[in-house]
Amino acid sequence: MIRKKICMVGAFAVGKTSLVTRFVQSIFSDKYLTTVGVRIDKKSIKLGDRDVNLILWDLAGDDSFNKVRMSYLRGASGYLLVVDGTRPITLDTAIGLQKSIDEFLGKGLPFVLLLNKTDMTNEWKLEEEAIGELLEKRWIMMKTCAKTGEGVEKAFLTLTRMMLGGGGEEVNGND
């Protein structure tokens, strides 16, 4: 069986843990529970004819008290960069983290940017211009909602496919 490590990265309270919990256990809780250190979960998936055992590293969110430890990304095959659509500052954080990861591990580690909390799109405050710039850089982006489950499975499968050497480009614009 193929084993792949995926890291969940982003600002605090963007929904990283909720996305993992939705993906692994198909449940969601409205209560915000901060992650201290790292949470490690596992999920086995089937992708085509391949069985993949995903080790999900959910890293404590980046904030003024806690900086993401880049060493935790060692051995990762890819990462999900999570943004809370209602908090524009979390997009800045995500962009900064992506840059740091590139610097730490070298460019090329697959990642998908998740614009999370689509159940609150009426409160989204992300600037279209900023999103447009990332699309121009060929970032793979998906909209997700841990609360409703929208796009969650697809996000993990897309990243896994990318990690296994497949593309993820077809995803943009479809969600």
């Binding site: 605090f12 915000y32 901060t34 250190g37 490690i40 080790i55 904030d63 935790y72």
Partner: protein, 373 residues
């Protein structure tokens, strides 16, 4: 303390003790707690020697740091960050690892934090919630600031429009006032800037300058364009224009006291001006600046009853009466602008205006001249 005592102690503390053998392998010492077995059910713990890889993904990473630590033979201990995993029964288990050197052996301790973690988590939870509240507040403040700024900008544009419409009202009756008011406004603002006044004050003086002759709306049009000398009665009619302008503006809530600037722009420092005969610092500074700009522009420009006297004569006038009619600081700033900084009045009359426009001029400016003669 014997080895048996130590392993017994760790068993009592529910801590996993391992010795680093090298080559990524570790040897479990003593009893393996049930919670550890349940966390890694796929690992055969009975063989005693384990490789910290795959199942032990966090420990594998920590072992890299621990190996550096042991290699340096440092005293003290190296503690990992906490990590949480779910055991085979679905229970979450929060752990912490610790590397130490003990009697020449490289020891790795793993503790299940259990209930003790709750307190630590509660602290972080509170801190993160506070951060989130702060961020929400900051975002709200930022959004409202933008809205407020936009509203202010809209108000400012509306105000500009009002001021320019007011100016236009006078200019329609006396087109030559248009150029005069604009030039006075520009010069007055530049003098204010030269004097180091706040940008906002300079801007207010500009606004005052643009409509300082608003009161001329009450002056009969034929007087405004009369090319010959005015009679005393006619002169008295025109002398009312600051008061008339003030009366029109006084109830408009401008962010600046434009009405007072307009009222006092013909006052003189020695009290010989009009309409109130104020003197010295009883005259609003903004008005004292407007006065200088008004006199200089009027003397330097064509008038119906005379050609332009030129900027040298205008500067000579204010210099000669520096401290008598005019505020010395304002005079100094104005003279410096022209003599040292190359300031020039924008005169479109000479190129663009018709001959009749050249001689229509500004009646009020004529009276400024009459006053100083």
């Amino acid at each position: 303390m014997t080895e048996l005592d130590i392993t017994g102690l760790f068993a009592a503390l529910d801590i996993v003790v391992m010795e680093h053998i090298g080559d990524g392998s570790i040897q479990v010492i003593g009893t393996i707690p049930d919670w550890f077995r349940q966390l890694y059910p796929n690992v055969d713990m009975e063989i005693g020697r384990l490789r910290l890889e795959e199942e032990f993904s966090f420990l594998e990473l920590f072992l890299n740091e621990a190996e550096d630590f042991w290699m340096k033979n440092e005293t003290g201990r190296l503690t990992s960050e906490v990590w949480t995993e779910t055991d085979s029964s679905g229970n979450e288990c929060t752990l912490e690892a610790l590397a130490v050197c003990f009697r020449g052996k490289n020891i790795l301790l793993i503790e299940s934090l259990g209930a003790s973690f709750k307190e630590r988590h509660a602290f972080f939870q509170k801190a993160k919630e506070t951060l989130l509240d702060k961020e929400v507040l900051e975002q709200m403040v930022a959004e409202r600031t933008v809205k407020l700024r936009n509203t202010m900008e809209d108000l400012r544009k509306a105000l500009d429009a009002i001021v320019h419409v007011l100016a236009l009202t006078v200019e329609v009756r006396d087109p030559y006032t248009a150029g005069h008011q604009r030039r006075v406004a520009n010069l007055a603002r530049t003098i204010a800037e030269e004097m180091g006044l706040l940008e906002e004050v300079a801007e207010s003086i500009y606004m005052g300058g643009v409509i300082h002759d608003l009161g001329k709306i009450a002056v009969p049009a034929e007087l405004l364009s009369k090319p010959s000398r005015l009679s005393d009665n006619e002169f008295n009619l025109i002398k009312d224009h600051p008061q008339v302008g003030y009366n029109i503006l006084k109830n408009i809530e401008f962010p600046w006291d434009i009405a007072r600037m307009v009222l006092q722009h013909h006052e003189k420092m020695d009290g010989s001006g009009y309409p109130q005969g104020l003197s010295g610092e009883d005259i609003f500074l903004e008005a004292r600046i407007l006065t200088i700009a008004d006199i200089v522009e009027a003397m330097a420009s064509h008038r119906p009853y005379r050609p332009a006297l030129g900027i040298e004569k205008a500067l000579g006038e204010i210099t000669q009466n520096r401290g008598v009619f005019y505020d010395p600081d304002v005079v100094d700033a104005c003279v410096k602008l022209f003599s040292e900084k190359g300031y020039k009045l924008e005169h479109r009359f000479s190129q663009d205006a018709t001959s009749s426009e050249r001689y229509a001029g500004c009646r009020f400016a004529r009276f400024s001249l009459q006053t100083i003669k």
